[in-house]
Amino acid sequence: MTTAISMTGLTKHYKGVDALTDLTLDVPAGTVFGFLGPNGAGKTTALKVLAGLARATAGGATVGGVPVSAAGEHRRQLGYLAQDPRFYGWMTGRETLRHVARFRGVDKNREPWIASLLDRVGIAEAADRRTSTYSGGMRQRLGIAQALVGRPAVVLLDEPVSALDPIGRKDVLDLMRELKGETTVFYSTHILDDVERVSDHVAILDHGRLVKAAPTHVLLGSFTKNTLRVILGGAIETTEAGIRGLPGVATVTVVSRTGADTTFDVTTKPGASSDVQRSITRFAVEAGLTLISNSEETLDLETVFLRLIDQKEVAA
């Protein structure tokens, strides 16, 4: 898999503040990569360094293989949406996209392309209004369109849904999902649910340091509860004891009984989940029970996040 963004030892210190410390991270091409962290973790700083709006104190980065520099060459490779996007108030939305398109050398089919983008982000009706009349949500939508207008290899989105209402938030998340495979989306957020919904990769940042980076499913899978949720049809009084007797099982709890179905939470000894799952399958067959479910319970991202980051710091 090729790398769209590569950060090596990226460090940014302001006076008295270590905003980013030795961040080394590769973002695979074509992914939707969530950059997660509490407020003040350094997410915006990292994105600004990548966009060339701030200079790294140490380390370096490449975007689409082009080194990040103040000269701006690497910005041919990326589209950027700021946390609170601002545009020239005297330009209309369409003119704003036209302006960006010219910067990015989009010549042929420019007008239909701009019209399609305005439609895609849902501001086609306001396309010929001055942006000074736009609401925050409309600016955010225009910001996403302008980030895409040059069809960049990488799109950097800084808190893309934070200013949006629930409908706008859903629209933008859907759009981000659609972009998977078309371009690389690297976005910052502190909304865990959004990351879980749209990101195939996630990196967690805290106090300017990378805490963890992994594919989302791997990250979530690596933090199991050592608990299996087992639903058996036809279970009887002795079934619970039978499961408890299987090797690797620590505890068994009956969660509910619905008709003939009984739900158990089976806690396993560390590292024994897979073996216990197989044993339960065999047990059900031998006991003539119907195995409806036998799955490992995983943690949601919020729990993983809180485990990785000191909860007191998050609260602060």
Partner: protein, 267 residues
């Protein structure tokens, strides 16, 4: 967002010129459009044209009112009166007021940061601002008032001015707005507030005059004297080359300083 899903592309993207002037053409287009859509062009043109009419007619009015000797301006020569158009600090003042917010307002509005997320170099942004401002000022504050003044002088003083002298003066006098636009943009790269830029630019305008009262060499060396130098050259009078040297050195220092500061700036 609509339910329609429009695929990204196909589009044709042709990378423009890169390097130090990456994105310059589009930046210049934007700057010129912004100037022409705003009220500043009309205000500058109006003030300049009215000022030109007034300055050109001073001897005519003085003569008509019988106060020519008191006014100390007795020439009825059309050329001499057209050359009065830029007397005083009017142009420098107009230039400073018109350009003092070129960078600071963009910084305040957040559009400077946005612009810099596009493939455009910081040098292109300030170069485009400089050239656009100079084009606008050349037309509205130099060419227009001279044209108006020439017309008024022809009618009021009964003859065409000497266009060779007037043209030479206009061409050389451009160095004065060129200097003050450079000053406001140069200061704008380092000073974040509009008031700060204006204060610094007005200091550049007036401090050399004050110092020149004590040390005459300051007047000769100061780039703010380039207007007087231009007038002297146009009239064929002696003009100190030190003024031209001072102007050239100042422009280079401002250009290099502004680039170095702006390239390192974080927005």
């Amino acid at each position: 967002m609509t339910a329609q899903s429009v695929a990204i592309g196909p589009i044709t993207a042709s990378p423009g010129r890169g390097g130090m002037f990456l994105g310059f053409g589009n930046s210049l287009r934007k700057e010129l459009t912004e100037w022409t859509r705003g009220p500043k062009v009309l205000i500058i043109a109006g003030i300049s044209a009215l000022g030109a009419v007034f300055m050109t007619l001073i001897p005519f009015i003085a003569k008509a009112s019988g106060e020519t000797e008191a006014a100390g301006m007795t020439s009825m020569d059309p050329t001499a009166n057209v050359l009065l158009v830029f007397a005083g600090q009017t142009i420098a003042f107009i230039v400073v007021v018109a350009t003092m917010a070129l960078l600071s307002s963009e910084r305040d509005r957040g559009t400077l940061a946005w612009s810099l997320t596009n493939p455009v170099s910081p040098t292109s942004i300030i170069a485009a601002k400089y050239i656009a401002a100079m084009l606008v000022i050349t037309v509205t504050a130099i060419v227009l008032p001279l044209a108006v003044s020439s017309g008024v002088a022809t009618v009021a003083y009964g003859g065409l001015p000497n266009f060779a002298i007037v043209g030479t003066y206009a061409g050389l006098y451009l160095m004065l707005p060129a200097f003050f636009v450079a000053v406001t943009i140069g200061f704008g790269t380092a000073i974040k507030s509009t008031a700060g830029v204006a204060g610094a630019a007005f200091a550049v305008m007036f401090v050399p005059q004050i110092l020149g009262g004590i040390l005459p060499i300051v007047n000769e060396l100061s780039p703010t004297s380039i207007g007087n130098w231009a007038l002297a050259v146009a009239k064929g009078q002696p003009a100190s080359p030190l003024t031209l040297v001072g102007w050239l050195v100042s422009m280079v220092v401002i250009a290099v300083g502004a680039k170095l500061v702006f390239d390192r700036q974080e927005v």
